[in-house]
Amino acid sequence: MSTSLKAGLDRLPGVDQVGLEARAAQLGTRSIKTTSKQWAIDLAISMVDLTTLEGADTPGKVRALATKALRPDPTDPSCPAAAAVCVYPDMVPFVREVVGDRLHVAAVATAFPSGRAPIEVKLADTAAAVAAGADEIDMVIDRGAFLSGDLEKVHEQIVAVKEASGSAHLKVILETGELQTYDNIRRASWLAMDAGADFIKTSTGKVQPAATLPTTLLMLEAVRDYRIATGRQVGVKPAGGIRTSKDAIKYLVVVNEVAGEDWLDPDWFRFGASSLLNDLLMQRQKMLTGRYSGPDYVTLD
């Protein structure tokens, strides 16, 4: 889809910023109580990609995180496991060692988070992550190419990384905070889906603003429309800045009312987060016991 690529993307309907943000704010006022909340918190836990992306990450640190992802609440076996553990490629073997095939292991590849490296390096990065045992690859798009109008280059790179990922699922990070406009975000979403993304993801978590409710709503509209147009379903992963259960539930409401309940599943919606899980656990304990505990009643990462 080379020459028609830009024309196709230009034909996408525009996004009215005021209207989009008003809709997100309105859905954010849904009042979620008791049984629905209990259900939503468990679902949210099962959608967490428990993440550590620090230069200082060590095997010990990621082993601890992986253990927590398997059993988020050691006092309660009924608590669901997280969806995946997300680390840098060199940390993948240590995670795999802990989780076996019980959880997905995601690796950020392609010169994360800047993406500023030759394509050969990005592909090698991806291949190394897969070889080390990652079954999900989180790649970043070349925002420079996108903003300079070279959509073709962005498209080609995603196609190449998808191929290098083999059977691993490819999550394409748009870094929405750098794309700036909602029109850009919608265009980038379609571009990524067309190039073969299995998931579209908002942010690396290294750039502000990271995930926002309006941006996620927009990307959910994109995957909904893409499925109508092509029959293929693509997942959505907001990442960065989602810290509280209350926020997570707002995202689930938006998933439910915008894309539909088909996406209310860890196969199609994920949270990229590190601190969110503990708040979900504390809320979960509160709902089961009727009492608030404190930070000492949930484990450190």
Binding site: P13, G14, D16, S31
Partner: protein, 479 residues
């Protein structure tokens, strides 16, 4: 079975102290009425909420005399900066008691608490704040130095926004120095009576605001009373005509804000998802009980199918039911009578060959309910494209060119509002220039602001409310 079934989240009604019976508010006191008391019901449950006094001719006369006295002795001579203090005080109390007002409005009207809480009541206190600011600045209203109030204003308001319409009428009248006698609709009098309590709490001088309850007969006595100087009415076009006749030949000033059949025009380059939201907000907001509702959707033929698909998908997510539930999007129809009217008019759509589609929501067993409905294949020749239905019923028409959109949009006896959806700025301005409507919204719908004049062309009435223009309806330029 849906995966995510939100648990009920009902707002507590205990914040409202419902009385078994309510009197009239005349000269600062609650008094009995001479007429036959009537009942007001909760349209969502058909439960009787309270018994309300009916004002007969003598009661209306008493109220007008109280207003005249207050005008002559206190409110008329009072400096604007003093009047402003009372208006600010009322605005503040309304904001403080907002939850109480929102719950009572929802009980009496049937609109979702989400709307009474987030739209009606905040706008009400904004209206008073805005006009409080004007009270000592009337010299700058564009009417020359020292404009004068008119005197006693007779105000009759509808049941769709009972408290908001009160604010639209009372705030500018008081800011300009008039006193008022207001008649709320017979199906929704309770928030007006609670507002009377706010007037007392604000220590507003007796007689400045009087509230007489009753139906058409009470309204007739009020607007034809020889000692009122100004009549303001919001409601249906037939009643507006009757009032215009009653006032004709007198020196009473008159403003009428009547029905509408607004065109909501969607071009092929519109921001599609937001346009669909705007269509929903345009016609299903307040159950379509909105005089400026976007009840005629004009959609460009090239995108009609896509827009309708998206609209139906969106409508399927509307939650209809208990208006006190914070998650309810669509509440109850205000009365059995109105429900009957909606059903009858919608039936003509079927008879004349339009295609009906209703959102798949379950209707509660008790109360007055109507599922959000759209008719496609509608033409200008259908009754449902011409007559105001005043309910959650949308007629969908198509057009091919901007010129055709304008022609169809203007081809109506009404002219209150219109909406334009396009990403092209120049087209918005060109359309706004040619649409014969008092308000034209671009890439939004049903937005209200106290600083923005609101009113209609043709059978949608005359005069403007809000902003400087609205203020001028309650003032006489000094001679």
């Amino acid at each position: 079975m849906p995966k995510f079934e939100y648990a009920p989240a009902p707002e507590s009604r205990s914040i409202v102290d419902l009385q078994a019976s309510y009197g009239l508010f005349v000269d600062g006191e609650f008094t009995d009425g001479g007429g036959t008391a009537f009942k007001t019901v909760n349209p969502a449950t058909e439960e009787v909420l309270a018994e309300v006094a009916e004002a007969n001719e003598d009661d209306v006369d008493r109220a007008v005399r109280a207003a005249r006295r207050a005008y002559d002795r206190v409110w008329g001579p009072m400096p604007g900066r003093e009047r402003a203090k009372y208006l600010f005080r009322i605005a503040r109390i309304l904001a403080e008691r907002s939850r109480e007002f929102a719950v009572l409005e929802t009980l009496d009207n049937g609109k979702p608490i989400k709307e009474s809480r987030d739209v009606d009541v905040p706008l009400v206190s904004q209206w008073f704040f805005y006009h409080a600011g004007w009270a000592d600045k009337l010299d700058h209203a564009g009417l020359g130095p020292n404009p004068q109030p008119l005197g006693v204003a007779a105000q009759v308001i509808p049941w769709n926004f009972p408290l908001l319409m009160l604010a639209w009428k009372v705030a500018p009248a008081l800011a300009a120095g008039n006193t008022v006698v207001l008649k709320p609709a017979e199906t929704t009098p309770l928030t007006a009576l609670l507002f009377a309590d706010v007037c007392r709490q604000a220590e507003l001088p007796a007689g400045v605001v009087n509230i007489v309850t009753g139906a058409g007969e009470t309204g007739r006595h009020l607007v034809s009373h020889p000692d009122v100087n100004k009549v303001a009415f919001t409601g249906s076009t037939p009643v507006g005509r009757e009032i215009a006749r009653a006032v004709a030949g007198t020196d009473k000033r008159l403003t009428l804000e009547l029905g509408g059949k607004a065109a909501n025009i969607v071009f092929d380059d519109a921001p599609m998802d937001q346009a669909v939201e705007g269509i929903v907000r345009g016609i299903f907001f307040n159950q379509g009980h909105v005089c400026c509702a976007g009840s005629r959707l004009l959609v460009q033929e090239s995108v009609a199918e896509e827009v309708l698909d998206r609209l139906k998908t969106r409508m399927a997510t509307l939650r209809l039911g208990d208006p006190l539930d914070k998650n309810t999007d669509v509440g109850a129809i205000n009365s059995a009578e109105q429900l009957g009217r909606i059903r009858d008019l919608a039936a003509t759509g079927d008879d004349e060959g339009a295609d009906r589609w209703s959102a798949p929501c379950e209707l509660p067993e008790r109360g007055y309910w109507y599922a959000p409905t759209i008719f496609t294949g509608v033409t200008q020749a259908h009754r449902i494209a011409r007559e105001e239905i005043f309910g959650p019923v949308l007629s969908v028409l198509t057009f091919r060119t901007p010129a055709e959109a304008i022609e169809k949009a203007n081809n109506t006896p009404y002219g209150l509002s219109a909406g334009v959806w396009t990403e092209k700025g120049s087209r918005i301005l060109a359309m706004a220039d040619q649409l014969r409507a008092g308000v034209v919204w671009a890439n939004t719908f049903n937005q209200f602001d106290p600083a923005s004049p609101f009113g209609g062309y043709k059978e949608s009435g005359y005069g403007r409310e809000g902003g400087r223009h609205g203020l001028s309806s309650y003032l006489e330029a000094s001679r």
